[in-house]
């Protein structure tokens, strides 16, 4: 299969980015999207000027395309490309690394961009800084336990239904597709997933009110937008996190206000 790639190139956070066009040929339909980019990079390296010089503003960048990736099996959340206008490309329930070229038509033009969000600044080319997600979790997205001194695992039975729902919410991989898909760059689905996961478990109840407050405040502080209920996040989430997580987040947040005032 042959493709024309339009790839966002940007040397660093401060530099101005632009689209660069590349032709790529003889790609197997069984090849994954990232393997296709590997092949492109191999070609760029082989054709690169051997004596490396600083590139002039308008000269084509021969440096291979930088893109984040790691596990290549859809679980680490490292990869994330905006492909033809969709986070993780044109398939449902997958990350970029699980997208295969058979999902495209021979001769297609493919537009590849990084996540676009104020809270995720571009580092280089398609690589963005998602450390804002870590900061939100650090604000309270955990149950405070110190190693040792905890009760036996079977001391508190948890209804299977609750455990299963908690598991579904906990399967978030923190890739940021929800933020990238949202016109407001809101992180409500990400935060909602963590709040839901912990709020559904008895162990998470103790800190629930405090948690939701701190996480939401941190999310606002870091420049993520507000939710206007378009659910683009749900449509693009590779792990099928439901918008009900956002509803539960809101309920927890309002409840925390009441609970705090009432105490």
């Amino acid at each position: 299969m042959n493709f024309t790639l339009h790839i966002w190139r940007q040397e660093c956070a401060q530099a101005k980015g632009h689209f660069e066009t590349y032709k790529i040929e003889n790609i197997s339909p069984d090849c994954s999207f990232l393997e296709m980019l590997d092949i492109l990079n191999e070609q760029l390296i082989s054709g690169a000027p051997h004596d490396t010089q600083p590139s002039t503003p308008n000269a084509p960048i021969a440096h291979p395309v930088c893109f984040d990736n790691d596990c290549r099996e859809g679980i680490c959340g490292m990869c994330g490309l905006y492909i033809n206008g969709r986070p993780h490309g044109n398939d449902d329930g997958i990350t970029t690394c699980q997208l295969h070229m058979r999902k495209f038509k021979d001769g297609d033009d493919i537009w590849i961009e990084p996540w676009r969000a104020k809270a995720f600044p571009v580092i280089r080319d398609l690589v963005v800084d998602r450390s804002a997600f870590d900061k939100i979790i650090q604000a309270g997205g955990y149950i405070s336990t110190t190693t040792g001194g905890v009760p036996d695992a079977n001391t508190i039975p948890i209804p299977k239904h609750d455990a299963d729902m908690a598991m579904d919410a906990a399967s978030c991989i923190g890739c940021g597709a929800c933020v990238a898909a949202c016109k407001n760059a809101s992180a409500m689905l990400f935060v909602g997933a963590k709040v839901t996961h912990l709020a559904l478990l008895p162990q998470g109840q103790v800190e629930a009110a405090d948690r939701v407050h701190k996480m939401v405040a941190k999310m606002d502080e870091l420049g993520f937008g507000s939710c206007t209920n378009t659910y683009a996040c749900e449509a693009e989430c590779p792990k099928g996190i439901k918008r009900q997580s956002i509803a539960r987040l809101n309920r927890q947040w309002i409840g925390s206000l009441l609970g705090r005032d009432g105490r």
């Binding site: 590997d38 390296i45 990736n69 290549r72 679980i75 680490c76 329930g93 450390s131 979790i137």
Partner: protein, 652 residues
């Protein structure tokens, strides 16, 4: 002389005795001590969280953009623990015995017993953190079976157990980061260890965003950087998983144990093309319900390979469920090394399907017995993953699988305290060699990573640090730091120079790092993979040496060292793999027996099982670095089995 520092006394009391008599550090002194943890997988995150909570100052490093992305996240099937919640005969003793037997009697008894002993506390800890393990309708924890065990002791969270355990540890780590006890450094790669007066005192890291080299000092360094499976290029490891952090420590004097013990996982999606970047694992848990088979008749296998027949066309009587046939007691749940070799044996004999290097993993029986919904609930995400990659529906047609490199039992040699031969340098999780012998059982890597981090290092590290309370934090301007940083800079400059020289001379054609890595992987897989012999290893050694020479002549790294440069990162790792590959080969050559994942074709029984030589090889091979291109020297740590009765590993 190697001292494994195994405490005296009866096996079951060693750890209790150790804890009762070890040295402690009081809270005021803990605040004065600094610890570096490299890696944020299960071992690293759990260690850093626990040490931070104790009051030490911890710096933690990872190469990804977030600690939540370490490759522990990809573990699918589960974590073992001797809880005996199923009342099916499990106990600490049973888990200990299964693990030693699974490792083909090449693991250290005391370490394995301690692992089994703390396994239950890991599950308690994870549940307290909110890990959503699978539960039954009564709300209690559910279990399933894994290879090498006849009890159900594996706890799981769908097919994403590693993810959930890592997120639990990541949560605990995040809490300590918020409390200021742990400082997080992301997108940093460890480039060297700094040794002062014979002790590990710091590290040099490369900032992967800016390319800057940075210095960090501490009273002790914990290495939790995983294994070296990517030496084989194609493996189930993540793209950035690498052996370099451990290898630079080896160069600085940390001994490396049993490098030839490499685990090959039987159930991975087969190789399909030259452009392929990695292999995807299909969880061992699938062998609970899936049945592995190939056609009984060669002509059927041939017809399948050319597309004339499909799996479902083969009549029940014409299928060879070879694991059930050869190992009736354990059936499809034999340990990984046994299952992998059996698949290779059938494919080599001409019964393979697909490209010829694949066997079927069939769920038709299970779907008939339990219904599609039940299978979907248990394995839904794995089936979806398979379908996305292969474009085939495993609910209707059997999966095709083949063995692939998965885990490395070998690693930095550590004593009972998980301390390497460099005082102050500790190694945890897959990065050390300690618990799995010559073969690791399924669902035991998660157990070991968390055991080391939550329940072993917080004790043993204190024992070391108790003597360091009057030592000031080392200065990063010390000459040892200058030297280490200069050496790293020199290493990187060497790569940049090759490119420039090539540009001027134009005499040789250039090759990319991946091109060399793929060739190295093929050599290792072909000659030092699932089956090895003296001749193949000699060939491997020669080919690796030739390839390494070629590498230094014509590898091309574009860009500069002072910028984000993934090609340079890969080049540095591959440089280390060349040395590591030769040690793996030497170790495999010297170990003239078959055990666990190390199968020497000269040493097998009449029916193709591993043949150990306990008289000559019941030891840990501990290698010491002697300089580039020099053969390493080997010391032996004898394995003394006081408690367990040595037997032939029999799964029939």
């Amino acid at each position: 002389m190697l001292d494994p520092k195994i405490p005296s006394g009866p096996l079951a009391e060693k750890w209790t005795q150790y804890k009762a008599s070890q040295k402690l550090v009081n809270p005021a002194n803990k605040r004065k001590l600094n610890i570096i943890v490299v890696g944020t997988g299960l071992a690293g995150a759990s260690a850093a969280a626990s040490l931070g909570a104790l009051g030490f100052n911890v710096d933690i490093f990872c190469i990804q953009d977030s600690p939540r992305r370490a490759h522990s996240i990809a573990a699918q099937g589960g974590i073992n623990a001797a809880k005996n919640y199923q009342n099916d005969g499990d106990s600490v003793e049973r888990l200990f015995r299964d693990t030693v037997k699974g490792g083909d009697y090449r693991a250290r008894e005391a370490n394995v017993y301690r692992l089994a002993e703390v396994s239950g506390a890991i599950i308690d800890q994870c549940v307290a953190q909110g890990v959503p393990f699978a539960r039954d309708y009564g709300g209690l924890l559910d279990n399933r079976s894994f290879g090498g065990a006849q009890v159900s002791r594996t706890f799981y969270a769908k097919g994403q157990t590693g993810q959930q355990l890592l997120l639990g540890a990541y949560g605990a780590l995040s809490r300590e980061i918020a409390r200021g006890r742990v400082t997080l450094h992301t997108r940093r790669e460890m480039m060297d260890l700094v040794v002062m007066d014979g002790r590990a005192r710091g590290i040099i890291v490369r900032n992967l965003v800016t390319g800057d080299l940075e210095r960090y000092a501490a009273h002790a360094v914990v290495l939790a950087t995983g294994g070296y499976g990517n030496l084989y290029y194609l493996s189930t490891n993540a793209m950035n998983s690498n052996g370099s952090a451990a290898w630079v420590c080896h160069r600085k004097g940390a001994a490396f144990a049993n490098p030839c013990y490499v685990q090959i996982h039987p159930t991975c999606i087969p190789v399909h093309g030259d452009y392929q970047s990695k292999l995807t694992l299909m969880s061992e848990s699938l062998r609970n319900d899936g049945r592995i088979w190939v056609p009984k008749k060669k002509e059927d296998a041939e017809a399948i390979r050319v597309g004339k027949l499909k799996a479902n066309d083969i009549a029940e009587d014409d299928r060879d469920y070879y694991l059930e046939r050869r190992y009736p007691a354990f059936g499809n749940l034999v340990p990984r090394d046994v299952a992998s070799r059996a698949a290779k044996e059938r494919c080599d004999a001409g019964y393979g399907v697909g490209t010829g290097y694949a066997v079927y993993l069939d769920f038709a029986d299970a779907i008939r017995r339990m219904g599609k919904e039940a299978i979907e609930e248990k394995y839904g995400n794995l089936f979806q993953m398979y379908q996305k990659i292969t474009d085939e529906n495993p609910y209707e047609t059997p999966m095709m699988i083949y063995p692939a490199i998965h885990y490395t039992m070998g690693g930095l040699w550590v004593d009972y305290e998980l301390q390497t031969t460099i005082p102050g340098l500790f190694a945890a999780g897959e990065a050390n060699f300690s618990d799995h012998g010559a073969n690791r059982l399924g669902a035991s890597a998660l157990m070991q990573g968390l055991a080391d981090g939550y329940f072993v290092l917080p004790y043993t590290l204190q024992n070391y640090l108790a003597d360091q309370i009057s030592v000031a934090k080392p200065s990063v301007t010390a000459p040892e730091f200058d030297e280490a940083e200069a050496a790293v800079r020199q290493r990187m400059d060497r790569f940049m120079e090759i490119g420039k020289a090539l540009g001027k001379g134009q005499t040789t054609s250039l090759h990319t790092v991946d091109d060399f890595h793929k060739r190295l992987g093929k050599i290792m897989w072909e000659y030092c993979g699932m089956a090895r012999n003296s001749e193949s290893l000699t060939t491997a050694k020669r080919l690796v040496k030739e390839l390494e020479d070629d590498f230094w002549k014509s590898v091309f790294v574009p860009g500069n060292a002072n910028e984000m440069n993934p090609e340079l990162e890969k080049a540095c790792r591959l440089e280390d793999y060349f040395e590591l590959a030769q040690l793996v080969i030497d170790d495999a050559q010297h170990r003239e027996e078959s055990c666990g994942g190390h199968f020497r074709t000269e040493h097998q029984t009449a029916d193709g099982e591993t043949l150990r030589d306990d008289e000559h090889f019941m030891y840990v091979a501990v290698w010491e670095y002697q300089g580039h291109g020099q053969p390493e020297t080997m010391e032996k740590e004898p394995l003394v089995y006081e408690h367990i009765k040595i037997a032939n590993r029999n799964y029939k």
